[in-house]
Amino acid sequence: MMILEKRQQPSPIWSLATPVLAVILTMICGGLLFATLGKNPFETIRTIFLDPLFSEFAWYYRPQLLIKGAPLVLIAIGLSFGFRAGIWNIGAEGQYIVGAICGAAVGLAFYPANSALIFPLMVMAGALGGLLWAMIPGILRVKFGTNEILVSLMLVYVAEQLLASMALGALRNPEGMGFPGSRNLSQYPSAANLELIAGSGMHWGVVAAFVAVIFAYITLSRHVFGFQVRLSGQSPRAARFAGVNPGLLVLICMGISGALAGLAGLFEVAGPAGQISIDFNVGYGFTAIIVAFLGRLHPVGILLAGGLMALTYIGGEIAQSNLGLPGAAIQLLQGMLLFFLLAVDVLTHYRVRFGKVGVA
């Protein structure tokens, strides 16, 4: 008989090993799933996990990895602060949209002027837009005790309507023959978030993601603010006793996640997406929640998880086009990953023992 016994301390070895184990289990069960769909499981798994990196077309896919991974990592890093402190910002998608709108609006306002100051101004506007959008649920929670999960989530749909209205109205390209969507920012040099090294996929958003990882790592491990965030998440009462102002912490955590989501939106709209359009957002803000937890809310973990998530996206697209795999199967695979991670997480906190039952 198998029993679980609580460890006195979480095991450091298992907390590193469980994500790897989860990926392996996902590959096995994913393979079984693909086999039942009539696909060759080995070929499919190889297509999803290895082809983006090592196939003959990898020169095209590798930059895509950075382009898809950067917004996920950037948003997930912001969310991880709040999630560690027990503040649940579920509306990063909305903050991402509003950041993109604000940043793009600043850039478009200067069109067609040329100045090196325009792009930095757009970056600031993007961060500020996301921050202010996140302040709505933050302030409502602090002042009136509303639930930030609901408010932030519902504001995503408000942001989507705002996006549609901007694409059709205020920000529509005056020379666009009446088609919805703004001017293409990536063709406006002063406002474009171009690749820093041609063909690498490396744009300013990728740089920002790496900076955010380093910044978050230092803050969480060395700075008092990181200590207070962790303390608040584990024992809110102890945090208050230690002098943490809970309301202020809510605002700061919402602010960080909103600003980083807004930045991700701006880098996307000025670079890979290029313009404000009705279908600008593709769910990075929601997927980043999975990335944050897959990376155990740890900056380095989030970096790896963001890469893995981007890999399954790109690999999934290859599998869809080359092997005719249904898109839903890819989503199932991504869901499986989170599921197995949470399931094997038990090993970090519990020890498995085999033998006779001690407790009835």
């Binding site: 006195q8 301390q9 008092v224 962790r230 584990q234 009462r237 006793f241 230690a242 039952v357 009835a360």
Partner: protein, 507 residues
């Protein structure tokens, strides 16, 4: 002589790394009140959990009324006639008494039938309790009565009570003992677990002493002194805290009409508390749990802000200052709840040291934590207060209650406070650790700091306090010199606002 009611023979239960019970054997007779004594970690809870069917022993056997007794789960133990009142109550605040009792039944009869049964039992055993009252509004003593009546409705042969008097006033203890004696006279055996040796001496017929999982002795508590029993428990000569006589210093803290609303639904409002505390004195504040102790600590520590001028520390109004600003000027506090309030369970001891010592010990510079310095401070607390742990990297959760309490109190004392507020400093702590904590508080006062010790343990307060005051429904009685106070007078001070006038009568 007939068979005993319950016979334990050679019970052994080992957990990884520790033997909780080793070859424990003793008998409990019908109608006997049997005390189970031992320090924390001596194996008392494992033993009663075995009897109650929560733990299955590795070896050994039990017989109940001559029949083999091996309860696989508490339900089986209850069916066989074993009932237990736990130290921590399992009641729903929002439901009334009868509803709470019905919830624990296998096939509950209609509500008014339950209420009638509750009334009948409470009359029979002299435990006043109204079945229609909401549990959230009951005192701790009344809540305990709910648990006891829940057990008595099963008509038990053996009633196990785990530290039942830790939350009661002396008057409530008297009522409880009356009930227990009545039960015992009717033939119900009682297994009574307590740290309070004087109570055991007045109530119990026999005592079994456990140390490190083994029975180290049995005695007749009526013929043995409390000190002898304590030394049997500890296994060494007990060190009794020494109180030095010292002149009172200047006023360091004054509360002037301190009032505050209850912070949550089941909290207590503070009402017009006026008090002066001087350097070098220990002020003991007694009272039954839930009468404003947590709120008073929160108002002093800075977790709860109060109006201007209500709290003055060294002459300055500090009611609006947050916790760390108060720590900076020398006001430190240690709240009652160790896990999750005074300490974060899943964080290391180093991190727990940073929690409150950050400001005074300068464990940060420009916002960055000095981990090495914090580790040294935590190690210092561990060494100075004999905290049993492998080192400061261990989590707070991995420590036993007593050791964590030593760490929490030590963390504040090592910061040299000018005024230290402690709430229940020795709750659930074994005798020798409790003596060490009390001695540390007295030493702190001897160095010239003021100490406010809030506790429900009157013996403790009498042992260390210079002056004593009682907290009742958020009101504080005026403090009186502790020396010479009788139990009756203290009981009246604790008894309620209406009796306050009586309490003012001088000795």
């Amino acid at each position: 002589m007939t068979d005993p009611l319950l016979r334990l023979s050679g019970l052994t239960k080992a957990y990884p790394g520790v033997v909780a019970n080793c070859d424990v054997s003793f008998d409990i007779g019908k109608g006997e009140v049997h005390a189970l004594l031992g320090e924390n970690g001596a194996g008392k809870s494992t033993l009663v959990k075995t009897i109650y069917g929560l733990v299955r022993p590795d070896s050994g056997s039990m017989t109940l009324e001559g029949q083999p007794f091996q309860p696989a789960e508490p339900r089986a133990a209850r069916a066989a006639g074993v009932a237990m009142v736990f130290q921590h109550f399992s009641l729903f605040d929002a439901l009334n008494v009868a509803e709470n009792i019905a919830l624990g039944m296998e096939n509950p009869p209609p509500q008014n039938a339950v209420a009638a049964q509750v009334r009948a039992v409470s009359d029979q055993y002299g435990l006043p309790l109204d079945p229609t009252r909401i549990v959230g509004e009951l005192s701790a003593g009344e809540r305990q009565r709910v648990e006891i009546i829940r057990c008595l409705l099963q008509d038990p042969k053996l009633l196990i009570m785990d530290e039942p008097t830790s939350v009661l006033t002396p008057q409530e203890v008297a009522i409880l003992f009356e009930t227990l004696r009545k039960l015992s006279a009717e033939g119900t055996a009682i297994l009574y677990i307590s740290h309070k040796l004087e109570e055991i001496r007045s109530l119990c017929d026999n005592a079994t002493v456990l140390r490190l999982g083994q029975v180290v002795g049995t005695c007749d508590p009526r013929a043995t002194s409390a000190r002898d029993m304590a030394e049997l428990m500890v296994g060494s000569v007990l060190h009794v805290p020494q109180k030095a006589d010292r002149p009172a210093g200047d006023i360091i803290l004054s509360l002037d009409g301190l009032s505050a609303k209850a912070p949550h639904q089941f909290g207590t409002a503070l009402r017009d508390i006026t008090l002066e505390v001087r350097k070098g004195e220990v002020l003991g504040i007694g009272g039954v749990a839930g009468n404003g102790q947590d709120e008073l600590v929160a108002a002093l520590s800075g977790e709860m802000r109060t109006g201007a001028g209500m709290i003055r520390f060294k002459g300055d109004s500090i009611g609006q200052l947050p916790p760390n600003a108060r720590r900076k000027i020398g006001l430190l506090a240690a709240p009652e709840e160790r896990m999750g309030h005074a300490a974060a369970p899943d964080m290391s001891l180093t991190e727990n040291a940073i929690m409150t010592a950050m400001t005074r010990q300068k464990l940060t510079s420009r916002g960055f934590v000095h981990w090495a310095k914090a580790r040294r401070f935590a190690q210092g607390v561990i060494t100075a207060f004999d905290v049993r742990t492998q080192g400061p990297q261990n989590t707070a959760r991995s420590l036993s209650g007593g050791n964590l309490q030593k760490f929490v109190i030590g963390r504040e004392i090592m910061q040299d406070p000018d005024l230290l507020v402690v709430n229940q400093p020795t709750w659930g702590v074994d005798a020798s650790a409790a003596a060490a904590i009390r001695q540390a508080l007295l030493d702190l006062a001897a160095k010239g700091a003021a100490v406010i010790c809030i506790s429900q343990d009157l013996d403790e307060l009498m042992e260390i306090s210079d002056r004593f005051a009682a907290l009742n429904e958020g009101r504080l009685s005026s403090p009186r010199p502790a020396a010479g106070l009788t139990v009756e007078e203290i009981g009246l001070m604790l008894g309620g606002a209406h009796d306050m006038e009586v309490a003012h009568v001088d000795v």
